[in-house]
């Protein structure tokens, strides 16, 4: 077979063409691949966020929304829908993340049989067994933070079933406030003060823009009060310390400690004497006697001026302004240091009675009452009492009566009670102490058994805000993240397990046989809410209702308000006994000690969160310390300079802190924040000293509430040998009084202040 040259060229040409054509049609295999790059490209940032609504565990009564990215909580904001805080939130809410991710969180239950021994890590099964064994056949004393909602119901059933003694703990309790509200208004719930629509506010002691009761709600209202209406509201604050609220007021009346009640009655006297209040109310308040009934409180009376430190003209002016028609509606608020005296309850009753004279009950801009919760089961007094913190007298009685086994949760009485509350002896005499805590604190470190508790962002719960917004509100707390600490448990669920182990019939009494958790109990409550078919969430099905409540962070019914006439009993007009503990002697170095609740770390329960320690105090800009505020001129006289260490002593005990010199501290007082002086905690340990060490053990004679503002101390300058500086945010220029000057000056065309007309 022959191949001609022509044929060869033909064939080779064809095969070359074929190769080109067929190869061209083929797609290279790598072009059919998708490559996973090794590292995360920047534009593929992680982070699709979800916002979950819940209630805040660090600023009671606030609703929050939490930004959750990839299962981790990243940011907390106020819930815009929630009735009390309406989208605003406090620094305390903000710092919830730090509690969630805190390095001090306990990784497992810890146990020691001897309270002097070392703790060892145990499993939850062992812990439950130890807890059951030690509580069986023992008198149980249960101490928790003030409870509310379904958890209070659960604990109420538990204490009834087990016969346990229950005490709610709060370092700075306001038992006098509850009693005064009950006495004046006949109400068991703190009313809502309609600050937003008021025209004139007269507040006593209550630092309501910072820490008192529902500060986020009050601050929002305050903005409206000042700038919302056509007339800027006037605010006068009576306080023995220059607080943030005092700093915001138009007029601050520095009152002698304990004299708040006398001042309030003196104002009432002037109003009644001048016939400026409705005569029917006056007649009831004074037993028909009129102003004579209160004659002891005539501002002209020297005793009044001595007790209050306020001169007669000013009292007359305050009284007239309070009931002036152009200032209506006006509002009187009292609490905080005004109620923390031996005459605390008297003071608050006198202050709240001013509202009766201003006739502002159930009115816009006045005192509006909070209705009962929409769930009948949560309204019994037994359940409500779980939210009322015990006073000094109750602690002393408890220690005196002797306790068996003690279970503590969310409370740190070893740090937050004064020595004379005898909590140390209570602990020493206890047969067994179990503490639910998220990290080791002063109380947990004295226990036998420490049980790591889940954070509020990881558990179910609910909250019926007290004070509420003036209508029925039910806040729902849901786990917004899966537990960051997997080896922690929920207090409520452990109590349910414990009650089963102790053979108590709690589960069937509460009707949670199917879902034996707090979640089950809350869902039952939600069923009842759903069946009422009213309020902010309505749905044909229960599941739809439940989802709606979860999404909104709660349920409320703006139409479910309450009208209360108040009791209008005769005012307690006997001159009060205002006593002071601590230093008895008179002298230029003896001062009234006015402790105050910190805007950030509160009563000390949040002292372990560095964001809050680092948040500057609104008045002094101080951070990370427990400082002593002292008047500038007094400091000059005593040769005290800023950062000099001052020793406050009372009855042989002392407490030290660096001096902060401020022109607005009343010359007869020194002030120090509550809550520091912890010896445990990564961030709280060793910060400042605990002012409660020198607070004397006086209490209100009727209620037994600690009179924490009724101590007098001797101040000694220990100097500043190390050249320390105070940790403040403001510059090195000392605070000074601003001269009185016009903010806006209207000048005429000639610049002579005269207009052309």
């Amino acid at each position: 077979m022959g191949l001609t040259r022509r044929q060869f060229l033909k064939w080779s040409g064809a095969s070359a063409l074929g190769a080109v054509v067929f190869n061209g049609c083929n797609i290279p295999s790598e072009e059919l691949q998708i490559v996973s790059p090794v590292e995360m490209p920047e534009e593929l940032a992680l982070g699709r966020d979800n916002w979950y609504a819940t209630v805040c565990g660090q600023d009671a009564g606030s609703g929050v929304i939490v930004r959750v990215v990839d299962g981790r909580a990243k940011k907390i904001e106020g819930n815009p829908d929630y009735p009390t805080n309406q989208g605003k939130h406090s620094v305390r809410s903000e710092a919830g993340l730090q509690a969630l991710y805190h390095p001090d969180r306990l990784a497992s239950p810890k146990y020691r049989s001897q309270r002097s021994g070392e703790f060892s890590d145990i499993s939850w099964d062992e812990a439950r067994l130890i807890l059951t064994e030690n509580l069986k056949n023992e008198n149980i004393t249960l101490i928790t933070d003030p409870l509310n909602g379904h958890l209070a119901l659960l604990i109420d059933e538990f204490t009834k079933g087990s016969g346990a003694t229950y005490k709610a703990f709060s370092s700075v309790e306001e038992g006098n406030l509850g009693n005064a509200v009950q006495a004046v208004f006949g109400e068991s719930r703190i009313p809502d003060f309609d600050i937003a629509n008021s025209k004139y506010i007269l507040s006593f002691g209550a630092d309501f823009l910072s820490t008192w009761q529902s500060p986020v709600r009050y601050s929002t209202g305050y903005g409206e009060f000042r700038q919302g209406g056509s007339v800027r509201g006037t605010h006068v604050h009576v306080d023995s310390r220059f607080s943030m609220t005092a700093a915001n007021a138009d007029d601050w009346v520095p009152v002698k400690p304990g004299g708040e009640g006398v001042l309030a009655l003196s104002i009432a006297y002037v109003i009644i004497r001048d016939g400026l209040a409705p005569s029917a109310i006056v007649s009831k308040l004074t037993d028909g006697e009129g102003s004579d009934y209160l004659s002891a409180f005539d501002p002209a009376n020297g005793d009044v001026q001595k007790a209050t430190g306020v001169d007669a003209h000013r009292i007359e002016d305050l009284a007239h302004a309070f009931v002036d028609p152009s200032n209506q509606p006006s509002l009187a608020i009292g609490g905080g240091s005004a109620g923390a005296h031996t005459s605390g309850e008297f003071n608050l009753k006198a202050i709240y009675a001013l509202n009766l004279l201003a006739n502002n009950l159930n009115k816009v801009g006045g005192v509006r009452f909070n209705p009962d919760s929409p769930l009948e089961s949560l309204n019994s007094d037994d359940v409500l009492s779980k939210g009322r913190a015990a006073g000094l007298k109750e602690w002393q009685d408890l220690a005196g009566a002797g306790v068996g086994a003690v279970v503590i949760r969310g409370a740190n009485p070893s740090h937050g009670l004064i020595k004379d509350a005898n909590f140390t002896s209570l602990m020493d005499n206890a047969s067994f102490i179990a503490t639910f805590a998220s990290s080791m604190d002063e109380t947990a470190s004295k226990s036998n058994l420490v049980l790591p508790e889940l954070n509020y962002l990881e558990t179910w719960g609910d909250n019926i805000p007290n004070p509420g917004p003036g209508y029925q509100t039910f806040g729902l707390q849901q786990p917004v993240v899966t537990p960051f600490n997997e080896n922690a448990s929920s207090f409520a669920d452990e109590i349910i397990k414990l009650s089963e182990n102790l053979g108590l019939d709690l589960v069937s009494k509460l009707g949670i046989d199917d879902d034996k958790t707090l979640h089950g109990l809350i869902r039952n409550g939600a069923q009842e809410l759903w069946s009422q078919g009213r309020g902010s969430v309505k749905s044909a099905t229960f599941e739809g209702f439940w989802q709606g409540v979860l999404q909104r962070g709660g349920w409320w019914d703006v139409d479910a308000t309450k009208v209360s006439s108040g009791t209008v009993n005769a005012i307690d007009a006997s001159w009060p006994t205002i006593e002071f503990g601590g230093e008895k002697g008179e002298g230029s170095d003896v001062f009234h000690l006015i402790p105050f609740i910190s805007n950030s770390i509160a009563d000390g329960s949040l002292a372990n969160l560095p964001w809050l320690q680092a948040t500057p105090d609104p008045v002094t800009s101080m951070t990370w310390h427990a400082w002593v505020e002292i008047n500038r001129e007094t400091a000059e006289e005593m040769n005290i300079k800023e950062a000099d260490v001052l020793e406050l002593s009372a009855g042989g005990v002392t407490v030290k802190g660096p001096a902060y010199i401020h022109p607005a501290v009343p010359p007869w007082t020194v002030s120090m924040p509550f809550g520091q002086g912890h010896y445990t905690g990564e961030y709280s340990g060793g910060v400042g000293e605990n002012v409660l060490a020198v607070v004397s053990s006086l209490a209100d004679k009727d209620t037994g509430s600690l009179a924490w503002a009724a101590t007098r101390v001797k101040v000694k300058n220990l100097g500043n040998t190390d050249g320390e500086r105070v940790p403040k945010m403001e510059g090195t220029v000392e605070a000074y009084e601003a001269e009185e000057r016009y903010i806006l000056q209207i000048t005429g065309p000639n610049g002579d202040g005269k207009g052309s007309h």
Partner: protein
């Protein structure tokens, strides 16, 4: 001579017959691939072999998991295991904001797999890729015809808008419910394969059904 002639004709008939058959089969193969999905033969259609045998059943599915012999997979406590039910866009993150759904980077897989299942042979391949910093080259399963552009983002946006109804007749609440419209129930596929032709006819049918534009430049630009 005559016999020779018959043999030649017979041979011609057989050759034509075989050739015709081959041509018909070949034509059928091409036409099937042209109008629909190709037959699963000669490496066409079906599921290509992937560098790591990633099971969507475990990650995206929610059904009971079985091993290669059909026995249920058991966890450490001896309980039967279900798929994780991860949302599609947990890994295919770009789908709601870019033309491509994208595959996750190795690092993203390692976020979980540094602790989860690190003893499984396929996960070991992944961890080796991470240790040696080598990208993983996945074989493409879904491929569109040439000269057409498909933007995932616009389709996701349309079907997740309130009021817009999926071709299946449901209202899509979440992005991941939209995916199965074109990709099928990926969560039930151990190996992913293409379930729709994704050819022009397929696209245009759906566009017509949803009143979407059907002019040329919608897809060809």
């Amino acid at each position: 001579m005559l016999r020779k002639k018959y043999i030649f004709i017979l041979g011609l008939v057989i050759a034509l017959g075989v050739g015709g058959l081959v041509t018909t089969v070949g034509l059928g193969f091409v036409l099937k691939a042209w109008w629909g999905t190709p037959f699963e033969a000669f490496g066409f259609g079906g599921s290509p072999e992937q560098p790591v045998a990633f099971p969507h059943t475990v990650h995206a599915g929610t059904g009971l998991l079985t091993d290669s012999e059909g026995n249920p997979k058991l966890d450490l406590e001896g309980k039967e295991m279900n798929g994780l039910g991860l949302d599609c866009i947990y890994c295919h993150r770009a789908v709601t904001e870019s033309p491509y759904a994208g595959v996750p980077p190795v690092e993203f897989c390692v976020y979980c797999h540094k602790t989860v299942g690190s003893d499984l042979p396929e996960v070991k391949k992944l961890l080796e890729a991470w240790d040696s910093q080598t990208p993983i080259r996945w074989e493409r399963v879904h491929r569109l015809p040439d000269h057409v552009r498909f933007v995932h983002e616009a389709h996701m946006r349309y079907f997740t808008q309130p009021g817009n109804i999926l071709p299946s007749g449901e209202q899509a609440m979440v992005a991941s419910a939209v995916c199965s419209t074109c990709h099928g129930e990926i969560g039930t596929m151990t190996e992913v394969k293409q379930v729709r032709s994704l050819k022009m006819g397929d696209c245009v049918d759906c566009h017509r059904a949803n009143n979407a534009p059907t002019d040329c430049t919608t897809c060809h630009y």
